[in-house]
């Protein structure tokens, strides 16, 4: 079966896009509940946070020296050619027994230069399908493809929107993150207008609430606003936007795991680790029937 493809996107920075991408990918590949799941992570953020998290700085430099990053997919497009995605994949984790794995198409700081030429020296429409065309030959080799997006509407975000089936919106309970969701809807719709096929651009699939502080009044008020906005969006699109459960609590264990370049699933059992595992279940179940 072809991989399900999710783009983790919010135009607000610091809402947990990379944290969610990395931890969900690691849970799917490593946790016994999802035994044997094959995951490809594509880092589309030139800040390379997901790449650095998975590879650490030393391995990031080695991967870059060996031309193993999304930069080379885009660079080939600028030259009018195409590089097979297998050439830029770095294996991160393999479980020989179950077959589960995490592969990574890392980002590179050099992608910052490519951001300045949204047409990549050619047709803008073709420039937005670099990732989509690259993953097509390997879609059956994975169960899930997770794309970590930058916090903006760059060529990399447009590529993610074209390649993915659903946008997963990481959110923290504050007004600016809520505005970020509204912007996704507007820009996604504007982008989709250019295509006759209604499925050409990823739909907003759902929202993951990060850094939730139970009993904190301001958080609860912000969540009440989020619910209103989600209902309004669903009314406009006619499609339900899922609010993934549980809300992922604020916890130092997340920062600690980040600092140690570890996924929470590899760390000791904590409440926030359980939150992530349950959200992973909710994600999988929500999109189970989606082809």
């Amino acid at each position: 079966m072809a991989a399900k493809i999710w783009a983790f996107l919010n135009f607000k920075g610091g809402v947990g896009k990379t944290t969610d991408t990395v931890n969900i990918a690691a849970i799917l590949a490593k946790h016994p509940d999802f035994r044997g799941t094959r995951v490809l992570v594509i880092d589309q953020d030139p800040q390379c946070n997901a790449t650095l998290w998975f590879l650490t700085r030393e391995r990031y430099h080695i991967a870059t020296e060996r031309n193993k990053s999304a930069y080379h997919l885009y660079e080939a497009q600028m030259r009018g050619s195409q590089v097979p995605i297998q050439d830029v994949i770095t294996p991160v984790f393999r479980d020989p027994e179950s077959g589960g794995c995490i592969d990574l198409v890392g980002a590179s700081f050099d992608m910052l230069e490519q951001e300045e030429d949204p047409s990549l020296g050619g047709e803008p429409a073709k420039a937005a399908t670099v990732i989509q065309r690259a993953i097509e030959p390997v879609r059956n080799a994975y169960d899930y493809i997770l794309i970590d997006c930058p916090p903006g509407y760059s060529i990399f975000t447009r590529n993610a929107l074209r390649a993915a089936q659903h946008v997963i919106v990481p959110y923290t309970a504050d007004y600016l993150a809520l505005e970020g969701i509204k912007w996704i809807k507007q820009l996604r719709d504007r982008f989709a207008k250019g295509y006759a096929d209604p499925n050409a651009v990823a739909k907003i699939g759902g929202v993951i609430v990060n850094r939730y502080r139970a009993g904190f009044k301001a958080s609860d008020a912000a969540l009440a606003e989020l619910r209103v906005v989600l209902d309004q969006l669903a009314q406009q699109t006619g499609e339900r936007i899922h609010l993934f459960r549980p809300f992922i609590r604020e916890a130092t264990a997340v920062t600690k795991a980040n600092n140690e370049q570890q996924a929470l699933v590899d760390c000791e059992a904590t409440a926030v680790r359980r939150d992530f595992i349950r959200v992973a279940h909710d994600l999988v179940n929500t999109f189970r029937r989606h082809v």
Binding site: A221, V228, A234
Partner: protein, 218 residues
């Protein structure tokens, strides 16, 4: 409130002649707007909604019945009203019959939407309080909740969004008529403690309602 004129005097025949086409125009405009909402860009929808309000203002000027209802309240009541009729028509008919005694006649060629707006005007006239009209719609919606809806307390959320469109003065004026349970639920939703109805607590609740309305505008 739109102005301070008395609502007791009946319309003169000339005035009634002026009101009839305006009321009809208002209904047709609302009809078109409602049925085409999904096709509108948000800006275009806002423009049309403004036109509707303008018509309503003209209607208010001529129709003493509705003098006690502000435009904002009318818009909110109208939206909640039509949603409630869509979700629980049988229940709404029953409730309106309870309020009015007898439902207005559904004339030939009159669309369901026009008729429902006609009933709204009658109910507003009878209850003279848009908050009570909203309560009517909340109850009926609670009977048949829509699937896949995230808002958990629709009644409290709608009330907050309505208050968020009111001036502080309007909100304070409506306070005495508010259901204490609704106030408590609303306060809980936006993290305000209203143990005693002090002016400070009311102001705080209103400012949170304004914030919610502003933050959730698309």
């Amino acid at each position: 409130m739109s102005n301070g004129k008395s609502a007791s005097s009946g319309p003169a025949p000339e005035r009634r002649a002026k009101v009839a086409p305006l009321a009809e125009g208002l209904r047709k405009l609302a009809d078109t707007l409602e049925s085409n909402q999904a096709l509108y860009e948000p800006i275009a929808f806002e423009r049309e909604a403004t036109a509707l309000v303008q018509r309503f203002r003209e209607f208010l000027h001529l129709e003493p019945k509705l003098h006690r209802v502000s435009e904002v309240m009318f818009r909110e009541c109208r939206a909640a009203w039509l949603r409630a009729w869509q979700q629980a028509p049988g229940e709404m008919e029953r409730r309106c019959e309870e309020v009015l005694g007898r439902l207005p006649h559904h004339v030939a060629d009159e669309s369901d939407l026009s008729w429902r707006l006609h009933v709204l005007v009658e109910v507003l006239d009878r209850l003279r309080d848009p908050v009570r009209v909203l309560a009517l719609t909340e109850t009926s919606r609670a009977l048949e909740p829509a699937e896949g809806v995230h808002v958990e307390d629709r009644g409290a959320t709608d009330a907050l969004l309505l208050w968020g469109q009111m001036t502080l003065e309007e909100f304070l004026l409506s306070w005495a008529k508010l259901d204490p349970d609704l106030v408590r639920r609303c306060a809980g939703l936006v993290g305000v403690t209203v143990s005693r109805p002090t002016l400070a607590a009311k102001r705080k609740l209103h400012s949170q309602a304004v914030r919610m309305f502003r933050n959730t505008r698309m």
